[in-house]
């Protein structure tokens, strides 16, 4: 049989050129069902277990494009702004060619990527975002990053054109085609100008910006190309195989690092193409091939050969790459020459999609975009480990699997749903992430203990249609300066905010809202440092009350002291004395507490000490 298969492989290659002839037989097949009846559901031994709360209000929401029923918990919905005219097709609202994609933030501006270009909104009034500019420049996915006066855009589809034209670029080789990273100068937001377009072999599925601390004049772009390698006749050097005589010529098994001068962005170019999957010892560029050589007749193009998305955490000098069949950690101390330091495989994963670190860099979440985002993957029968988040502890630079988290409520089979993009909500003392699940909506979850993540808030719309899957939903949902901003593929820009609940106190929210970014690109994670502020101390205290380490009475006393500190003058002087006592008591408490409480008591002590020092100055 193996021989049969091998010989048929040769037949298959021959069939490449004979596909026209196959049309006739295939057309016959259109009429003739294959042998036996196929089943919409594979046979399974038993009914799937009920893993959700059957009373969850997200179940059974009425369908509609802009008038779907919604369910919301511990969040407040502030506004929805539909896509501008032209950027949607009223006859096919799920048309992916016009889908909204990823977001980037700068000041009051939100940049919303689209498969057809991008739109910028002013959200200084979150109840009424204002469209500032619309740029028509197709190519998908249109993921964006912003850095000062430059906006970067990922283009991967074959219809992308160098000149941003809408007419497409047909044919296997087309000199007008553009796939790669576009750079726009947005100094004049009314009139953004394309200043550079760096072509890459596989285009750009996503990208990530990286600064070099030693070189303030440049910004680097890590490019993740996930689609097919184009013809070398279109772009020199694009080799879609691994040539035996010169493996290093392959455009597979690498990422691109693009160097962009801030003053002369038109000189942007590929600075390096690191072989981040290479085997350390043998130098084999396909080092993550499981089990090494699979013997003769195996096709070496089929393996982990690209990254889908790379999240960098500059402060840690680390990047987490979600790379087709693997999750990898990269040392990015030298931006042009990232070095892989660890890799993991999760057999439950179909497609390693994206990554998020916790703020301490002790946990990393990888998402699995099983089905590519256009399929329903959150149904009752879909395993909770599939299309989910996989959480890993980072211990001594190595990743150790800790647990899974998936949207904890089933969606219908007309809702595309799978784990997608999100970011941290900066509540001190806890790890909280807001995440997009396409038509599964927005889910906010706590993963302070990565083995026991749980949901604390959500927003969900009913399906766009209840008789057929129309692609839509949250592409990205991020926390930005006190707001939750969602990019809805088919319904536009959503703005929400978290509200206090049993899972999140007002003090914790206030402490989170002390943090604000001038600029935020979610794949570029800043380390958040909370100021020594009474709200931060109150947030830690609330957490200690929640875990039972501190009583409500003790909290009341401490909060009165913090009120005194805020009042200033003699009240502050008195408060400082009480704070010193409180720090002393915390030191005693640390000795007898659980490790999680110890951690928070240390954090609280640190903040209280900061307040004491601030009063002394």
């Amino acid at each position: 049989m193996t021989n049969d298969l091998t010989s048929r492989r040769a037949v298959a290659r021959g069939a490449l050129r004979r596909m026209g002839a196959a049309v006739f037989s295939a057309a016959l097949l259109l009429l003739i069902p294959l042998s036996g009846a196929l089943h919409a559901q594979a046979a399974s031994d038993e009914d799937p277990p009920v893993w959700w709360d059957t009373e969850d209000p997200r179940i059974g929401l009425g369908a509609g494009w802009l008038d779907a029923e919604t369910a919301i918990l511990n969040m407040e919905f502030l506004s929805n702004t539909e896509r501008p005219e032209g950027f949607y097709d009223p006859d096919n609202v799920g048309n992916l060619g016009l889908a909204n994609s990823d977001l980037a933030f700068q000041g009051d501006l939100v940049f919303v990527g689209s498969f057809a270009g991008w739109n910028a909104y002013d959200i200084s009034d979150p109840m009424a975002p204002e469209l500032v500019t619309s740029v028509l420049c197709p190519g998908g996915q249109g993921d964006l990053s912003v850095y000062r006066h430059l906006l970067f855009m990922s283009v991967e589809a074959g219809n992308g054109r160098i000149d941003c034209g809408t007419e497409g670029a047909p044919g296997p080789v087309n000199p007008e085609r553009f796939r790669g990273i576009r750079v726009f100068d947005i100094s004049d937001l009314d009139n953004p100008v394309q200043v550079a377009a760096v072509q890459t072999c596989r285009g750009s599925h996503t990208h990530t910006l990286l600064e070099d601390a030693n070189d303030p004049d440049h910004i680097y772009v890590y490019n993740s190309g996930a689609a097919g390698v184009r013809s070398p006749e279109e772009l020199e050097g694009c080799i879609g195989e691994v040539p035996e005589e010169d493996p290093d010529a392959s455009a597979l098994f690498r990422i691109e690092v693009i160097k962009v001068s801030l003053d002369r962005p038109e000189e942007a170019h590929i600075a390096s193409q690191p072989r981040v999957f290479a085997d350390d010892e043998t130098g084999d560029i396909a080092g993550l091939w499981p089990g090494g050589d699979h013997g003769e007749g195996t096709q070496r193009s089929a393996t982990t050969n690209h990254c889908h998305d790379i999240t960098i955490y500059p402060d840690l000098g680390l990047a987490a790459g979600a790379c087709s069949g693997n999750g990898i950690l990269l040392d990015i101390t030298d931006p042009v020459n990232p070095v892989r330091v660890d890799e993991v495989i999760d057999t439950n994963f179909a497609y390693w999609h994206s990554a998020t670190f916790n703020n301490d860099g002790t946990t990393v979440i990888f998402t699995d975009e099983w089905g590519g985002g256009t399929s329903p993957r959150c149904r009752a029968g879909d395993l909770p480990e599939w299309g989910a988040n996989s959480l890993f502890r980072i211990v001594d630079g190595r990743m150790e699997h800790a647990g899974y988290f998936k949207l904890p409520v089933p969606q219908t089979d007309t809702e595309n749903c799978v784990a997608h993009n999100g970011s941290l909500v900066p509540v001190p003392g806890r790890d909280i992430k807001v995440q997009a699940w396409y038509q599964g909506g927005i889910s906010v979850f706590d993963f302070t203990d990565p083995a026991n993540a749980f949901e604390i808030a959500y927003f969900d719309r009913g399906p766009i249609s209840d008789d057929q899957l129309v692609v839509g939903g949250q592409w990205s949902s991020y926390w930005y300066n006190g707001l939750i901003i969602g990019s809805e593929i088919a319904r536009g820009l959503d703005v929400l905010r978290l509200t206090p609940s049993e899972h999140l106190t007002e003090n914790e929210l206030r402490a989170a809202n002390l943090i604000s970014f001038d600029e935020f690109n979610p794949q570029h994670q800043p380390r958040v440092e909370w100021p020594d502020h009474p709200d931060v101390a109150r947030a830690y205290t609330d957490q200690l009350v929640r875990s039972g380490a501190v009583t409500a009475e003790q909290r009341q006393m401490l909060f009165e002291v913090l009120d005194g500190w805020e009042a200033g003058g003699t009240q502050q002087a008195n408060a400082v004395m009480s704070l010193r006592e409180a720090v002393g008591m915390l030191q005693e408490g640390i000795a007898t507490s659980s490790s999680e409480d110890q951690r928070r008591m240390r954090l609280l002590s640190g903040t209280l000490n900061g307040l004491i020092e601030a009063a002394a100055n």
Binding site: M1, T2, L5, R8, A12, R13, A15, L16, R18, A22, V23, F24, S25, A26, L28, L29, L30, P33, L38, A40, A42, A43, S44, D67, T70, F77, S79, N80, T81, F115, A116, L131, T133, V135, L136, C137, G158, N159, I162, D163, E167, G168, A169, P170, N191, P192, Q194, A227, G228, H294, Q299, T304, S324, G325, A350, W370, G371, T374, S375, D382
Partner: protein
């Protein structure tokens, strides 16, 4: 302290509407649209009405790819449905279950794509529960697509599928990666470890064929320009590439 008062009925209605339908919000027409040029060229700013939002439409190579891939997927379903009764290894059964789930959904996705464009949907999609939407054009006026160009690439486009007579001598000249009836029978006869090995080998071969079909689409004269097909076809390639890798690892673990 907030005032205590009894909300009016109007307030109730407003609150209810806000909870259920928070979407009565802003639809902003872009008054202006920026049309960038190539790097080095200035942008043009035009009114939204002047901007061309006409994107490439699908061509026969796209239609053919989707129709053929539905049939290709259908065989993967047939293969996967053998696994629950025959596979010995739980990981092979689980893999078959995952492939089955993925490909049923993809068949429906492809059927929707075809249906929306007024193209013929292979019967197998309906057997799997696909239903046409009432608001999409009914089948299959190929004449409507004559002006999309490049239909000469693909003779199938000139025929109404329902009237297709076919050419029997080509009936066995299948798509890449398709198992012959004899090979399907051999797979159905296998059991236990033999089935596991044969299933993995056959599915790797089958997946490789799907990847060849994707590459062929992108190598065609005009295919792959439609806004949705690029993403779908690219995902078929990347997802099945990853599954091939997984299956090769399973084969190794099985010591075959």
């Amino acid at each position: 302290m907030p005032d205590r008062h009894i909300p009016t009925m109007g307030a109730f209605v407003a609150l209810f509407a806000l909870i259920l339908f928070p979407h009565f919000a802003q639809a902003q027409a872009a008054s202006q649209v920026v049309l960038p040029g190539a790097p080095g060229e200035p942008s043009r700013v035009v009114s939204a009405a002047e901007a061309s939002f006409n994107f490439p439409e699908h061509v026969e190579a796209d239609t053919w790819f989707m129709q053929m891939m539905i049939l290709h997927h259908a065989q993967a379903l047939e293969m996967s449905e053998l696994a629950p009764d025959r596979a010995e290894r739980a990981d092979v059964r689980l893999l078959a279950h995952r492939i089955h789930t993925s490909q049923v959904d993809e068949i429906k996705l492809m059927a929707r794509w075809l249906d929306r464009r007024g193209e013929a949907v292979p019967q197998i999609a309906f057997e799997l529960g696909y239903e046409s939407r009432s608001d999409v054009p009914a089948h299959h006026d190929h004449g409507a697509h004559q002006d999309h160009g490049h239909h000469h690439d693909d003779p199938a486009g000139h025929h109404d599928i329902g009237q297709m007579e076919g050419e029997p001598e080509h009936a066995h000249d299948g798509m890449p990666g398709m198992l012959s009836p004899e090979e399907m029978e051999a797979l159905a006869r296998a059991e236990g470890p033999d089935f596991d090995r044969l299933f993995l080998e056959s599915m790797i071969f089958h997946h490789e064929g799907a990847i060849i079909m994707v590459r062929e689409l992108f190598a065609s004269e005009a295919g792959g320009q439609d806004g949705e097909i690029f993403r779908f076809a690219s995902h078929v390639e990347s997802d099945q590439t990853i599954e091939i890798e997984r299956m090769r690892a399973l084969l190794l673990e099985g010591g075959s």
